[in-house]
Amino acid sequence: MSKISRLAIANRGEVAVRIIKACEELGIETVLLHSEADINSRAYRMANHKICIGPAATAQSYLNIEANVQGALAMGAQAVHPGFGFLSENADFAQACHDAGLIFVGPSPESIRTLGDKVSCKNLAKKAGLPLVPGYEGEDQSVQRLLSEVEKIGLPVIVKAAAGGGGRGMKLIKSMNEAAELIESAQREAKSAFGSEKVFLEKYLDRAKHIEFQIFGDSSGQVVHLFDRECSVQRRHQKIIEEATSPSLNDELRRQMGEVAVTLGTLGQYKGAGTVEFLLQDGKFYLLEVNTRLQVEHPVTEEVLGVDLVKMQILTAMNQFIFSPTDIRIPRGHSIECRIYAENSYMNGVPSTGLLGTVMWPEGPRRRYEYGFEKGDVITSHYDPMIAKAIVWDESRPRAIEKMIRVLKDAVVFGVHTNIPYLIAILSHPEFINGTMTTRFIENNFSEGLKSNHSEEQRKKYSQEVYKRSVAIGDMNSDQSIIQSVSQQNPWAIQWRGI
């Protein structure tokens, strides 16, 4: 039994906060391994200890194996939690932690190499006779060879970072004219985001649903699945809305896919939390890849099953977590997660950076918010634009959708623009409500972005009046009772309703 009394977090933002909370509950001290740019963040304020491991650029900080290991050692941590993204799926990092005598909270380096490397995972699955999407995953990475393989597979083809995940280093090739440019772009993104420019090709299924299974390997080596999530709502291959469980699976499909997920996890001797991703088209499913880490969307699984995956990860790393054979896991109700991105919904999703003003997440039963930044923090262009996640649970899918829409309408985010209007439009779309959306849902329905239905002229006039009023009252320190200052602590703040 290995005791962890101090754990280092090799990550930032909301996932760092999530890990800190799990550690606080387990009585474990935390060390935040942060970049120079992340001093104004919630995780920095919450962690017991912190150490700067490098400048803002990820290659020199969050992707720097040596700096992370040295930081953890210097601060006396016994373990490292990699979160998701950055080094979380990097076998060399897991190995470096082991070599330095640190517990890596995640699967073994061998498991990461076998399952996390998309090429090796496909080979393993092929041998085991599991269903795969046709593609090319060869060693020859010359653009010329990749182009000829694209032709062989037949358009449309998707090019992906072999070491990747999360949509980065991923491009869709629809015509041979743009193929070379897209392959090179994917290689550059892969290099910048994951440190390796290796890519592979896959036939693009054009009306598929993205369905994934949460797997978990306990301390005894037993691998189980914790049911499914659907993440078909994606833009530029990045998930936006996720839910558990999938509205698209019947019991038989769920059983079959769950079995494949567990088989693969068992073959890879998986330990801790992982995700087996599938595409589902015309009632047939294909294995996509395995993410050997915690997922961004893990909360929806936690909500329908009543589990805490991060605590389970840490306990497993301490050899203290074993599934009880009498435990019956049945998902209950429905949970939805929306990723809140700092971007302008009305300008085709252009990132929005800057100083955060007031941020208020409306409280209520079974509403959960995971966020890494608060008023006074700065959203920079160095990192991912996700500033928060909103998660709701309700008895049924329609109820959960209604609740999420209400939550998003009531949320206040000042200082940066967000995708909240975009999310509301998606949640209100008949195809989403029916649960029939595919991974092309956004492309088919929202390719033009959102158009504001307010006349710019009217809005500006209105804004000028509001501003005039606000300044008059603020500057003259007026005692007019119609004005009330609203602070984040004020319970009446969320009582406010619109025009």
């Binding site: 104004n40 990132p351 100083l355 262009s381 209105y462 025009i499």
Partner: protein, 142 residues
């Protein structure tokens, strides 16, 4: 942090009687040089300079036209495909920039000639920077 916090006014709930007699309610806050408003489920912001009664518009906000390829966000230029004097077709990629770990390809909206390329690969650019100037749409190419 104290320094940044001073750049805020406290968020207020405000009620305004508009000229048309309508009473409206909004949450407002000054953040940096911007004035943020949330009314109903809509949130938006204006530069304070654009709202102040002096009517003094700052020259900064020149309106972009399709012949001006402007940086839509701060970031790094990763690739430049064109040089001064090149002819480009509608939809042709002009350059690639990276921000927030994503790549964005900026393209020409119409067939024209490149007038001036102001950047090179690896340049850091600020939002609103004029990256490439194209010849205006109706300019004869022949």
């Amino acid at each position: 942090m104290g320094d940044t916090m001073e750049r805020h006014l406290v968020m207020k709930q405000i009620q305004v009687k508009l000229q048309n007699g309508e009473h409206v309610s909004a949450l407002v806050e000054k953040v940096g040089t911007q004035f943020w408003i949330k009314a109903g489920d809509q949130t938006w912001a204006y530069d304070i300079a654009d709202l102040s009664s002096d009517g003094q518009r700052r020259k900064k906000s020149q309106t972009a036209t399709p012949d001006m390829i402007i940086a839509p966000m701060p970031g790094k230029i990763t690739k430049v495909f064109v040089k001064d004097g090149d002819l480009v077709t509608k939809g042709q990629a002009l350059l690639v920039m990276e921000a927030m770990k994503m790549e964005y390809t900026l393209k020409s909206d119409f067939e024209t000639k490149v007038e001036k390329v102001n950047i090179k690969a690896n340049d850091q650019v600020t939002v609103g920077a004029l990256l490439v100037k194209l010849q205006k749409e109706n300019t004869e190419l022949k």
